[in-house]
């Protein structure tokens, strides 16, 4: 009886106190949405830095972009990120979590921080560090390649077939065709631990752990375990990890900017970098807004269903 009354009081409280509790947060979030809408609106104008007023220009900015080779190169690079960053990071993160889970003595508490610490670093630090590692002339990668890997007899033959000898080391960040993979590798170094953490958390769910233990007692091998128990029960974790990494790779900016500024030429440039260049180097603000709107629409395709399912889960709809 008393509790009924209390719950009623709390229900009544919700109107009275909504203002105090919610108003500060809503104030900031409304500004955030206002700015978002404003960016979308301005992408339909001819606004440039220094122009007194902006005129409605319809789809001109978008048509302009779609006629540019550079823009399509950026889109292509973002797709490369989606394929060569999201998928390998997810799989490697899962593989690490899986190995930690099946290793009999629990190495996990000792190994986990070693994979996870890059998550705490700034992308700028990662960029500075890895642009030295992948520097073609005096970088660490080519140094290790020339002084250690090319000294190993069998490896030397393999690398020779790939066209890598002491006199023709890979061009890494200077190679227009492959520089993007160097950047992707740096990002993988930073994000694989994060993917691993999410998978480890999924392994920890009690139901899955019981199933695994039961199967191991029945003598199931690692592969059987993977195929019949783990993968079917991990769909949710896979979905979360791929969505988060995909959202990240659609708006990636820092690491590309620090490592190559989009170069050589615009071989590694992604949409977010072009947006920054268009708005703040070329002063074409409306064009910047248009590119931002494109990034926004692409991420929204992933975010909207993701948010929808998350809310369903929390509120038990």
């Amino acid at each position: 009886m008393v509790l009924e009354g209390v719950r009623k009081a709390m229900r009544l409280g919700k109107y009275k106190y909504s203002f105090i509790f919610l108003a500060p947060a809503l104030f900031f979030i409304l500004i955030l949405y206002f700015m978002t809408i404003w960016t979308i609106a301005m992408s339909f104008t001819d606004w440039t830095f220094g122009s007194k007023e902006a005129h409605f220009a319809g789809l001109d900015r978008y048509l302009e972009l779609s006629a540019e080779e550079r823009f399509w190169r950026n889109v292509y690079n973002n797709i490369l990120w989606l394929v060569f960053f999201v998928i390998p990071s997810t799989l490697l993160g899962f593989f690490l979590a899986f190995l930690m889970e099946i290793s009999a003595e629990k190495l996990e508490p000792y190994l986990r921080p070693l994979f996870l610490y890059p998550t705490a670093l700034s992308f700028v630090v990662t960029g500075v560090l890895w642009s030295w590692i992948f520097d073609p002339r005096r970088g660490v990668f080519n140094f290790v390649l020339a002084n250690y890997l090319l000294e190993v007899p069998v490896l030397r033959e393999v690398l020779q077939v790939m066209g890598i000898t002491k006199n023709s080391l890979p061009l890494l960040l200077d190679d227009p065709d492959r520089a993007i993979f160097c950047i992707v590798m740096a990002a993988m170094w930073q994000y694989t631990g994060f993917a691993m953490l999410l998978f480890l958390a999924a392994f920890r769910e009690s139901l899955l752990r019981q199933l695994i233990e039961a199967a191991m007692i029945d003598g199931a091998g690692a592969l059987q375990l993977l195929k019949h128990i783990i993968l079917p029960n991990m769909k949710h974790a896979f979905l979360i990890v791929t969505c988060l990494l995909a959202i990240f790779s659609l708006k990636v900016f820092d690491v590309v900017w620090v490592m190559t500024r989009g170069g050589p030429g615009y071989a590694t440039e992604v949409l977010a970098v072009y947006m920054y260049v268009a708005a703040f180097a070329q002063d074409l603000l409306a064009k910047g807004c248009a590119i931002a709107t494109i990034i926004f629409s692409l991420t929204a395709v992933i975010i909207v269903p993701y948010v929808y399912y998350a809310i369903k889960r929390w509120f038990g709809l």
């Binding site: 919700k14 105090i20 070693l114 610490y117 705490a120 959202i247 947006m275 931002a292």
Partner: protein, 274 residues
């Protein structure tokens, strides 16, 4: 027979794990040892060997460029983190405890905002902040970071309060406490762990942020990330100085990661599963 296969497989698992862990730790190792070398030692190109005698002057030299940024960045990160955590906890508590028809749409709006690409608000933010003369000021950056991290802080607190036991609050209300005092004096002190996780999450993201800092920051106010990026241009091929700068820029988040790993991971998971 079965035992040997089992042992071999286990050895293989260990080997792969340790090998990958080694690959993951090497970049950090190189970063730290290189930051202690002399340029002459670097030009010998023995990147994997530790320095013959650690040279701390490297740190002294980059600190001349970074001291101000460290101070500014620390101040801005701490202020915006505290504001985010407090405002976010209020809103998260409200959404979790007082369900109404507006709750689900509101949660959707907030969660969507938490994923918003920074590019989407970058141009209006600079335009408005330059109209209000907030560019290159502490206020301007603090405002931007509160706005950008608040949705995440709200959601992380909300997911926590959804699982927080109600009994404590009910007891407080029976004793005649109104919701606001219940929240301030009963709920907040009992949820220190969540507040700490949220704070670490927000602090790390503000400290490491680059794009907004690049555009809104400048000469009066510097954030650490653009300064570290600048070092790359200032000290071309002087990797000892670049690495010393990178180490300095990574210290606060790494300290949080090492000293409060449990909360760091909790925040990271809550932020991801939001």
């Amino acid at each position: 027979m079965r035992l040997t296969i089992y042992t071999i497989r286990r050895m293989l698992v260990y080997f792969i794990l340790l090998f990958l862990a080694f690959l993951w730790i090497v970049p950090m190792y190189i970063m730290v040892i290189t930051s202690l070398k002399t340029p002459a030692e670097i030009s010998k190109m023995q990147y994997l060997n530790p320095p013959s005698s650690p040279r701390l002057q490297n740190y002294g030299e980059v600190m001349r460029k970074m001291a101000k940024a460290l101070f500014d960045c620390l101040f801005i990160s701490i202020v915006s983190t505290s504001a985010c955590v407090f405002i976010g906890a209020c809103a998260g508590y409200y959404l979790a405890r007082f369900p109404s028809r507006a709750t689900i749409p509101l949660t959707f709006i907030i969660m969507f905002a938490s994923f918003l690409p920074y590019q989407m608000i970058l141009i209006p933010l600079t335009t408005f902040e330059s109209l209000l003369r907030l560019i290159d000021t502490h206020h301007g950056l603090i405002f931007a970071y509160i706005m950008l991290n608040l949705p995440l802080a709200t959601l992380v607190s909300m997911t926590f309060f959804l699982t927080f036991p109600r009994e404590l609050e009910e007891a407080a209300i029976i004793d005649g406490c109104d919701p606001l005092s219940t929240f301030l004096y009963i709920v907040l002190p009992a949820s220190k762990a969540t507040l700490l996780s949220t704070a670490i999450l927000v602090f790390t993201s503000v400290w490491n942020e680059f794009l907004i800092a690049l555009v809104i920051g400048g000469t009066n106010v510097k954030m650490i990330a653009p300064v570290v990026a600048e070092l790359k241009g200032c000290y071309t091929a002087l990797w000892n100085l670049q690495m010393a700068g990178s180490v300095i820029g990574s210290i606060p988040p790494l300290i949080l990661f090492i000293a409060m790993g449990r909360y760091f991971i909790r925040g990271l998971l809550a932020g991801a599963m939001r």
